[in-house]
Amino acid sequence: MRILCSLFMLMFLVGCVSSKIIEDIQLVQINGYDLTAQEQMIRGTISIPQYGSSEQANEVNNIEYHAESQTAQDIRTKIEAETPYPVESGKTLGVLFGRGLAEKGIGKLIEGLSENQDFGRNLFLCVVDGKAETLLTQEFETQDTIAKYVVDLIQTNQEKNFPKTNFHELLYSFHGEGMDFFLPFLSHTDKDVKVSGLALFKEDKLVDTIPFKEVFIFKALYENSDDANYQFFWAEKDTYLTIKSISSNVKVKQLKDNKMSITINMIGIITETLSLNIDQLNEVKKLERALAVDISTKGQALIKKLQEQDIDPLRLGDYARSQTRNWDYQAWQTSYPNMEIKVNTNFKISQSNIGK
């Protein structure tokens, strides 16, 4: 009797919520937001993959929908007016922002995304040079859907030269004191998309970008990493050579109120050095020193640039907080642009290569 009764009650539970059948919903894979031409509203683009219904027609097509409004939720509502099935965003992989919108500020959109429990925290957000809409509507030579293409591109790069970014890291820097967030910066041609650098934000507005070749320096200053490539011009021998950092470790110390030091300890492999004949110990030491000086100066220059813009994507403020009792955020903000920040690099070449 009791079992019957509980089964009966379970039937009621089934009716408590509306069910969602996978064939009857459309799963958004990527969102794009742009500024409209009049700069008054946000133009949203969503890309939904359409899978073929039979074996002959199992090619993947993307269908894009557009809508314009002031809020992200209203864009969603307007888009749903165009689609035959309800739109679900639980499987969203990425969100793209057009450059124009990013310069105007994306704080509200980010907060909106963070409040919605549908979005995971592994979401990739990036800024597109130009319009997100044109990137999403472009036909690229790829097997996958456009969302998968873009996300894989960023993910692969993050394992190499790019610093780690995802939605959680963004929110961490966005809400936290003494840090500003940054996002990957994408650009595209008719045929392909590429990550062309980092987009740096001040509060929620895009203020500057870092080109791809400086991202290595940025990453070395920002986090510990283990697999990144860097092309180095050795002035002494008048030649280019590429180093592969296999371990990079960064330590930030606040020395005085107005002085900080950043130490990078890097171990690397050199390649394309056949013509240089560096098999003597002092030659290796020379190269190590030259590399260290090069990375330090470039790092110093990069930090100078960040200080001029008054942005702190390297989270130096947070390091200062963790090393200062009764840290004063206001005082930090005023002193940061003129702070003396020194970069020291120790470079160690650990292995050579299989050529001799």
Binding site: S6, L13, Y172, G176
Partner: protein, 364 residues
């Protein structure tokens, strides 16, 4: 049929070591999903000290409760009647019983809120509370041993779920914990009060201790249960502080669930759905223990049938869940009832102990 005495017979009693599970299950409930935000509001990144301090205070309280029950040779109802006379004693017992009932209503309601916010926004509060009330009924009517069995599962699951906070230890930032002890001792003390909500549950010992064989022996198990909870809370609080910075933490309602969002297992992309679902057992065990205690309290003083009282209590639970229909109110009521629990545990129990000592002295 159950008899209305404070001396349960052997078929209703439990082995002393099971107190570990009872203490742990009654402490870990809905609070573990969100307590970090409340304590961080008071003492920032140093509030992990308060977690340990509160655990220490609770060990003392458990010792006092054992003293009270062993000296009084009975449960709270008998002790109240002995100390304050039949009328005043019963009124105080009723107040404590109401506290048990209200606390279980609040916990039920806030867990339903978690399901509504995270999984099913359309979930009807009424139907869901009605169905779980039926579930509670089967557990409570089964007696204390059944509730204790549920507590066992709750402990297994809460420990398992706490272990899923490992991501924070691999991906978090250790700089968040520094500089250590940057907050004044007063601020750290202030964080004890919001922390208490998560540690509530030891006061149930006053009701269920007579159901334990060899009460004296079970003291060490009770302390162990409390230390286990402390460990779980400590692991959680460090995980959350590593993973979120303090300003970000204040923007997050359930930090633990947000942390689980990044766990990406091969078979499920978003772990928080599994987390919320498994957490059901943990919450159910807490609620059942409290509801059982409420039913037992009212049963002991009213001389009515146990079933009737259980049904009345469950009807009140469902009605209570449905009257609170606003997330602001839920948080407000949670805070208020946790303060009641705080004062009950930290002021009333020591008071009871001292009063009982004097009373025993006078009697001699």
């Amino acid at each position: 049929m159950r008899t209305n005495t404070y001396k349960p017979d052997i078929t209703e009693q439990l082995s002393p070591f099971l107190v570990v599970f009872l203490i742990h299950a009654s402490q870990i409930g809905e609070g573990i999903l969100s307590f970090e935000r409340f304590i961080a509001e008071k003492a920032g990144h140093d509030s992990w000290v308060s977690v340990l301090l509160t655990g220490g205070i609770l060990c003392l309280i458990i010792y006092l409760i054992y003293k009270i029950v062993l000296r009084g040779d009975g449960d709270l109802i008998k002790i109240h009647q002995d100390l304050f006379g039949k009328w005043i004693g019963n009124v105080m017992t009723i107040l404590v019983g109401c506290y048990f009932l209200i606390l279980s209503i609040i916990v039920t309601r806030s867990y339903i809120e978690v399901i509504q916010v995270w999984m099913f926004p359309e979930l009807s509060t009424f139907w869901f509370s009605a169905v779980i009330a039926f579930l509670f009924y089967t557990f409570i009517i089964g007696g204390f041993r059944i509730v204790a069995g549920l507590a066992f599962f709750s402990v297994i699951l809460s420990t398992l779920l706490a272990s899923f906070k490992y991501v924070a230890y691999t991906e978090g930032y250790w700089t968040n914990l520094f500089p250590m002890f940057d907050h004044s001792p007063i601020e750290i003390m202030q964080a004890i009060k919001p922390m208490f909500y998560s540690y509530l549950g030891v006061e149930l010992l006053l009701i269920y201790l007579p159901f334990i064989k060899n009460k004296k022996q079970s003291l060490k198990w009770a302390i162990l249960g409390n230390l286990w909870s402390t460990l779980v809370y400590f692991v959680s609080v460090i995980a959350i502080f590593l993973y979120f910075n303090q300003d970000q933490l204040q923007h997050i309602v359930w930090p633990t669930l947000n942390l689980w969002k990044v766990i990406n297992l091969p078979f499920v992309e978003r772990f928080e759905y599994i987390g919320v679902t498994l957490h059901f057992t943990v919450v159910i065990a807490t609620i059942c223990l409290y509801l059982w205690a409420a039913a037992q309290t009212f049963f002991r003083i009213s001389n009515r049938g146990y079933k009737v009282i259980t049904i009345i209590i469950l009807v009140m639970t469902v009605v209570g869940c449905n009257t609170v229909d606003n997330f602001v109110l839920i948080e407000q009521y949670t805070t208020q009832i946790s303060y009641v629990g705080y004062y009950l545990v930290i002021i009333y129990i020591p008071f009871l102990y001292i009063y009982q000592s004097i009373w025993l002295g006078v009697k001699k």
